[in-house]
């Protein structure tokens, strides 16, 4: 008997967003990344189009990370005091996208100036050919200054810049529009705020295909299920043609996973949890692999092995199943 391959009749489509710009497009990238565009739930190409695979980004900090777990030090310790060398190594490891986080601008830390930060971004752009995400230090006022300077200095590169928030979006969004960049709209695990922010941004004049939603990821074991379900609801809304929730989704799996206890506990401290490196890598890998099923389009990773794991899973999942 023929079983019906029950398809949903979706009416919407996830917005297709390009990150980076080649020379013809006004930038200097040797490649660009395109995410979104799907008309079906993740990887279900039997019911719709999945034109672009989810992309794995490697995160790079602009200052030497403090208190990092041993497996991360082992992976990046030789380069992590220099963001340019670090970014180059990411590219060698196979990164298609690099997420540069400007932690050094934090007023509570080094408090580097917007000009210095913009210079770091330019240096990294000079050193690698892949497109760039640029993230602030999570201090709203400082991020406004820094990201504005970055947007100006990297005009035309179509960076993915973040993050705008419901109560702090005008400066960054304005700078992204003037200087041709894409932006991240961040909301605190709350679909209504995600939508509200997208309405504010589009009212300001930001195009739907210049926004990526960050619904805030929680790590495996520490609230992952909330993020999972918010992402799933965002994606269902997109497929039901809610334009204000139709943007692709970014998930910072590395940052969230490596903050938690499991990846940071040395093997000797708890041998019953297995070897620390594998534990950290898996904690990050599975944080990412799980949200692949709820619609994450960009997975930002820390450990190179976790990044490679997720890339390999994505390849398997992208195999045609129609």
């Amino acid at each position: 008997m023929a079983v019906e391959m029950l398809k949903e009749k979706w009416t919407g489509q996830v917005a297709e967003v390009v990150i980076g710009a080649t020379e013809e497009e006004g930038g200097t990238r040797t490649s660009t990344v395109t995410v979104g565009g799907e008309t079906a739930l993740p990887f279900l190409d039997f019911e719709g189009e999945i034109p672009n695979k989810p992309v794995v980004a490697y995160e790079v900090l602009d200052e030497e990370p403090e208190g990092w777990a041993e497996p991360l030090v082992e992976a990046w310790g030789d380069v992590y005091s220099d963001p340019v060398a670090w970014a180059k190594k990411c590219e060698e490891e196979g990164a298609e996208l690099i997420a540069l986080r400007l932690v050094s601008t934090n007023p509570a830390g080094q408090d580097r100036s917007p000009e210095e930060a913009a210079q770091t971004v330019k240096d990294v752009l000079d050193a690698v050919g892949v497109p760039l995400m640029v993230l602030g230090c999570e201090d709203a006022e400082k991020d406004n200054e820094v990201l504005k300077a970055v947007a100006e200095a990297a005009e035309g590169e179509n960076l993915l810049i973040g993050a705008t928030e419901e109560d702090n979006y005008k400066t960054i969004a304005g700078a992204c529009m003037i200087h041709d960049h894409t932006l991240i709209a961040q909301s605190p695990v709350d679909m209504n705020i995600a939508k509200q922010l997208n309405i504010l941004l589009t009212d300001l004049g930001v195009k739907e295909n210049k926004i990526v939603i960050d619904p805030l990821l929680s790590s495996l074991g520490y609230g992952l299920e909330y993020s999972y379900s918010v992402m799933e609801r965002v994606r269902l809304s997109a497929l039901r043609d809610d334009k204000m929730l139709s943007m692709p989704v970014v998930a910072f799996a590395g940052k969230e996973a490596w903050r938690t206890k499991e990846p940071n506990t040395p093997t000797e401290e708890n041998p019953q949890w297995g070897e620390q490196e594998n534990r950290g890598v898996m904690w990050e890998t599975l944080t990412a692999s799980t949200v692949l099923q709820s619609g994450a389009n960009i997975l930002v990773m820390y450990h190179p092995q976790a990044a490679k794991n997720v890339q390999s899973l994505v390849d398997d999942l992208m195999e045609d199943n129609s």
């Binding site: 008997m1 379900s229 949890w273 599975l286 794991n309």
Partner: protein
């Protein structure tokens, strides 16, 4: 249920004889639809109508019990496509396979170690799938015996040879193992064995079509199903189609929990495949190779997260002092709510600061900081009373400083009044905690 009174009425004799106690067939149908009557009360109902109504009254996916004793597990019984619509009910059973050609006892010992504790729950690999790779009846029976003798884990007996299955059942039938699998070639013999021993039976098709054909032929309800797909994206497709056919169409031939198998050699890749199947509807997932602690712990955490009931706020035990690291009399004291996401965010950020500290989650019925505050469950007077009367924090620290979430700065005055402690307004998001500790704590403590 799903059938309306009118739909039921169409299947009744429509003679209005009144023997059921209702004046008319329609009235009786309405009673049935509301679950207030039993179909057996109508003496004239046709067998055909009975079958149709029985089927409609059944849940969309059967609940199947596998195993006995400590690791007994119900699988299936799901009613939703998405966990946010209500919840997923029965956690995916996680199995590791053992071949009857390998050192069975050694692998069983490793599997037995795959038990962990997370957030107060024991999480474990709960099944062992014994595979008859040797093709030999006695070798298989011996392997099954070794597993049964050395582990309490639920058994999945993997052989298509009815004679081998029978030999294994002689040893382990009383443990309610899952028989894997009935196929187009052997289903008569396998069904007979399952029925005789009252055990659940897995049915494997070559694809969804042949699977549905097979389950229709099998007159036994205690089933688990396998579409035969093994490539990751094809398994994902079949899992989605099966779940939709059950929930949206009540398509009976696939109204059973599923069993899935990973194919990767590398434990990390294998566990990623398994995490995908756990998120998307697998009743059981069988791992071939992975017995590593770190990989397994991570996978079981995925299961725990996905199957958390979104309707119940997940909480930590409130109104007590939690320690992060080994805090002393000069360590900071953070106040948050007992909503587990709030608590664990604070805990995570405190531990990433590497500075030991105390955290006191206040009982807000599991709501977050702002929600709790808006509902009068996170007010200054209440927190002050809890701190001073229900905890021993006064004995643990020499200072008298409480750090509250930045979002509720307004409660500072009342809290100072009720507790007699100074209140420091902390960062709005817990991610600001490390820099708060690094930059402010020392000077506040001495200031």
């Amino acid at each position: 249920m799903g059938l309306t009174g009118l739909e039921i009425y169409k299947k009744l004799p429509q003679t209005n004889c009144g023997e059921c106690g209702s004046p008319t067939c329609l009235a009786f149908a309405m009673q049935l639809a509301e679950g207030k009557a039993e179909l057996s009360e109508c003496p004239d109902v046709s067998d055909e109508a009975k079958a149709a109504l029985d089927a409609a009254a059944k849940p969309p996916i059967a609940t199947i019990t596998i195993g006995s004793g400590k690791y007994e597990r119900e699988v299936g019984g799901e009613t939703e496509l998405f966990r946010h619509d209500k919840t997923f009910f029965n956690e995916t059973g996680v199995a590791v396979a053992v071949s009857d050609e390998e050192d069975v006892a050694a692998k069983v010992e490793k599997i037995n170690a795959l038990t962990f504790e997370r957030v107060g729950q024991e999480i474990a690999v709960d099944m062992i799938a014994v595979k008859n790779d040797s093709g030999d009846v006695n070798t298989f029976a011996e392997a099954v015996e070794t597993v049964a003798d050395n582990s309490e884990r639920t058994l999945i007996l993997v052989t298509e040879d009815a004679a081998a299955m029978e030999a294994a059942l002689d040893i382990a039938a009383d443990q309610n193992p899952l028989l894997y699998a009935a196929t187009a070639d052997n289903y008569e013999a396998m069904t007979e064995l399952a029925e005789e021993n009252d055990c659940p039976l897995a049915v494997r098709g070559e694809d969804l079509d042949s699977l549905a054909e097979l389950t229709k032929k099998i007159d036994y309800e205690n089933l688990v199903i396998d579409s035969g797909a093994r490539q990751t994206s094809e398994v994902l497709r079949d899992q989605n189609v099966i779940r939709r056919l059950c929930i949206k169409k009540k398509f009976r031939p696939v109204g059973f929990p599923t069993i899935t198998f990973t194919t990767k050699e590398d434990p990390q890749e294998e566990v990623m495949q398994a995490s995908t199947y756990i998120a998307k509807y697998a009743g059981i997932v069988v791992l071939n190779n992975t017995v590593e602690l770190a990989e397994t712990l991570s996978l079981l955490a995925v299961r725990q997260n996905i199957y958390t009931d979104p309707r119940v706020p997940v909480t930590v035990e409130p109104n007590k002092v939690y320690e992060v690291g080994e805090p002393d009399e000069n360590s900071p004291v953070f106040i948050t709510t007992n909503f587990s996401l709030s608590y664990y965010s604070v805990e995570g950020d405190v531990s990433s600061s590497k500075e030991p500290a105390y955290i006191i989650p206040i009982d807000t019925d599991g709501t977050s900081v702002l929600t709790g505050w808006a509902a009068d469950k996170f007010g200054g007077a209440k927190i002050g009373e809890i701190i001073t009367e229900e905890t021993d924090i006064e004995d643990r620290v020499d200072h008298r400083k409480l750090i509250i979430p930045g979002h509720v700065a307004v409660i500072s005055g009342k809290l100072e009044e009720a507790s007699g402690w100074d209140v420091l307004v902390g960062p709005r998001e817990s991610s600001g905690i490390p820099s708060f500790i690094a930059n402010r704590w020392e000077s506040e403590l001495n200031g």
